[in-house]
């Protein structure tokens, strides 16, 4: 199934407002999805016999820069039976306060791969995933302050009173 067919399929199923746009200028086209619908969309893409995107290759949390104050998640799906790939993107505007993280629905119920990848996105970019079963920090210590892959992150000088060189 080609990119346009998949787009038509999702538009049929979820209405035009579920797909907020598309990016086709790069080497890999991407579909922009309404953040609230991402779980349904992933479930449909995984279970539909025409698409069978059963393999989540990669999940990336993205900070789109200080001016844009926009955060997003990029999903790279792969279909093992059809040997195709698809990129989905969700994003929303959010401030950079550490106690008001941008929140997206978790796709752990569809792809178990997302479990650790979402923990990593939470750990490094500071994106909260609603409905994740165990959203703890994964790579950094539990009491680490800040989210290092944010564009406004200042490198910590001390950790628990110990100077970091």
């Amino acid at each position: 199934m080609s990119f346009d067919d998949i787009k038509a399929l999702l538009t049929d199923k979820f209405g035009a407002e579920a797909i907020t746009g598309e990016e086709t200028d790069g080497l890999q086209p991407a579909l922009l999805i309404d953040p609230d619908r991402i779980v349904e969309v992933c479930l449909e893409l995984r279970n539909n016999p025409g698409t069978y995107f059963d393999f989540l290759s990669c999940l990336t949390g993205v900070d789109y820069g200080v001016e844009a104050s926009r955060f997003g998640v990029v999903y790279h799906l792969a279909s093992i039976p059809y040997q195709t790939q698809l990129t989905l993107k969700i994003s929303k505007e959010n401030n950079r306060e550490l106690n008001e993280l941008p929140a997206f629905p978790s796709v752990t119920s569809v792809y178990k791969t997302a479990d650790w990848h979402e923990r990593e996105a939470y750990d490094l970019v500071g994106i909260f995933f609603e409905g994740h079963p165990d959203l703890r920090r994964i790579l950094l210590p539990d009491d680490w302050e800040g989210y290092p892959l944010r564009k406004d992150y200042k490198t910590a000088e001390y950790y628990k009173g110990i100077k970091i060189d």
Partner: protein, 395 residues
């Protein structure tokens, strides 16, 4: 506070388990965790009720570094992801950058064949470590020494080509660091001839060893649907019986021109997807890699011979500025699907975001699922059969 809720739940679970069952820490310095992985086991006697992996002891901020350095400067950092198969890492990274630049079709054939040759050599080295340390994990000492003896030849050859034993920085965007040294092809062929009988010996010693089979067959069975849902790839996924090799599926570089089979787990000794199957897939892949190396050598010694005016740096771009786009490149590393996701702004030589999708990270995430209710001794067998490298898990 909803951001700390998960941590509180976890602390409560451990506190509760400490009164009912026993909480046992395996690692971070346990020899069979192959690095600094800490597994927190909730055990009831000898039975493992739950495994909670704690990773991040080897976190070196690869993604942050990649956002601060140019593509060429990032290549040495990619070597340090899966440090047992550094060539495969840089190959994947370089391939992604070349495709974004649109120069992937201009790379001379000789360079592509050299890349595949060193990648496959490195894959053998990585699988030899996997097999050798797997033996030592469950009590067989000799295979470990044999594997390291043979791996030493590969290390020596790659050092000869690149100047470094493990972290090569050999594959560059648009070319190579240097051409292969004079006599490399002959030495490599000598190694292949030397190594083939050694592999037969190793199979007699370990693969068909009844003690080894008893320890690994029917242990840690990973069903195919679970493997796919958890994003397992490489020998993990093939051990569960699926013929999924990105060298075949995507056919990148010169792999479509090479003949090789994709070994899968068949459940010969027990159930499909058990530890023995995963081990066997790796042992068979070594033979396939040797086949590919021979074909590469044939081409490199005949139609793609070294010529005095051949310059492996001729196609190196002066400025590596891809146009603004996102690109996800995937390739078959030694452990599975190795991917890099790039976001570029089209103005600078520095990407705005790089994410490394490490195969070991996903392969390890399935451990709590397949290690539920096994004996502690079997857990060691399962951990060894996953064959992860902590440099790649923690990045």
């Amino acid at each position: 506070m909803k951001y700390t809720q998960a941590l509180e739940n976890y602390n409560q679970k451990i506190a509760h388990a400490a009164t009912e069952d026993m909480v046992l820490n395996m690692g971070p310095q346990h020899p069979s965790t192959h690095g600094v992985l800490r597994l927190e086991l909730i055990t009831d006697g000898e039975i493992v009720k739950e495994v909670i992996p704690h990773i991040g002891y080897l976190h070196r901020c690869f993604e942050k570094h990649a956002e601060l350095l140019t593509y060429q400067q990032t290549i040495p950092f990619t070597d340090r992801l899966d440090y047992l198969a550094s060539m495969n890492n840089s190959h994947a990274f370089v391939m992604g950058v070349e495709r974004m630049m649109g120069i992937d079709k201009d790379i001379p054939k000789r360079i592509e064949y050299i890349r595949v040759l060193v990648c496959e050599l490195n894959r053998i080295g990585s699988h030899l470590i996997a097999i050798g340390t797997y033996g030592i994990d469950i009590g067989a000492f000799t295979p470990f020494l044999w594997c390291f003896r043979d791996r030493e030849h590969i290390m020596g050859m790659l050092e000869w080509a690149s100047g470094s034993r493990m972290l090569y920085n050999y594959i560059w965007v648009g070319g190579l660091f240097y051409d292969l040294p004079v006599g490399f092809e002959e030495r490599c062929r000598e190694f292949v001839d030397y190594f083939k009988p050694k592999m037969v010996e190793l199979n007699q010693l370990l693969t068909d060893n009844q003690v080894f089979i008893n320890r690994t067959a029917n242990v840690g069975v990973l069903p195919l649907d679970v493997a796919i849902n958890y994003g397992c790839s490489g020998p993990m996924l093939r051990g569960s019986g699926l013929k999924w090799d990105l060298r075949r599926i995507d056919g990148y570089s010169v792999y479509p021109e090479l003949e090789f089979d994709v070994p899968v787990g068949k459940g010969e000794m027990g159930t499909v997807g058990d530890c023995w199957d995963r081990y066997k897939v790796r042992a068979d892949e070594i033979a396939q890699s040797l086949r590919m190396i021979e074909q590469c050598l044939d081409r490199l010694q005949k139609e793609l011979k070294r010529t005095p005016d051949f310059d492996p740096r001729a196609k190196l771009p002066r400025k590596t500025i891809p146009k603004a786009q996102d690109y996800y490149v995937r390739c078959e590393g030694a452990k599975g699907e190795l991917g890099f996701y790039f976001m570029t702004d089209g103005k600078s030589e520095i990407p705005t975001r790089v994410k490394a999708r490490a195969p070991s990270f996903n392969n390890l995430s399935v451990l709590p699922e397949i290690a539920k209710g096994v004996m502690i001794a079997d857990l060691i067998a399962i951990v060894g059969s996953i064959d992860f490298v902590l440099g790649e898990v923690d990045r």
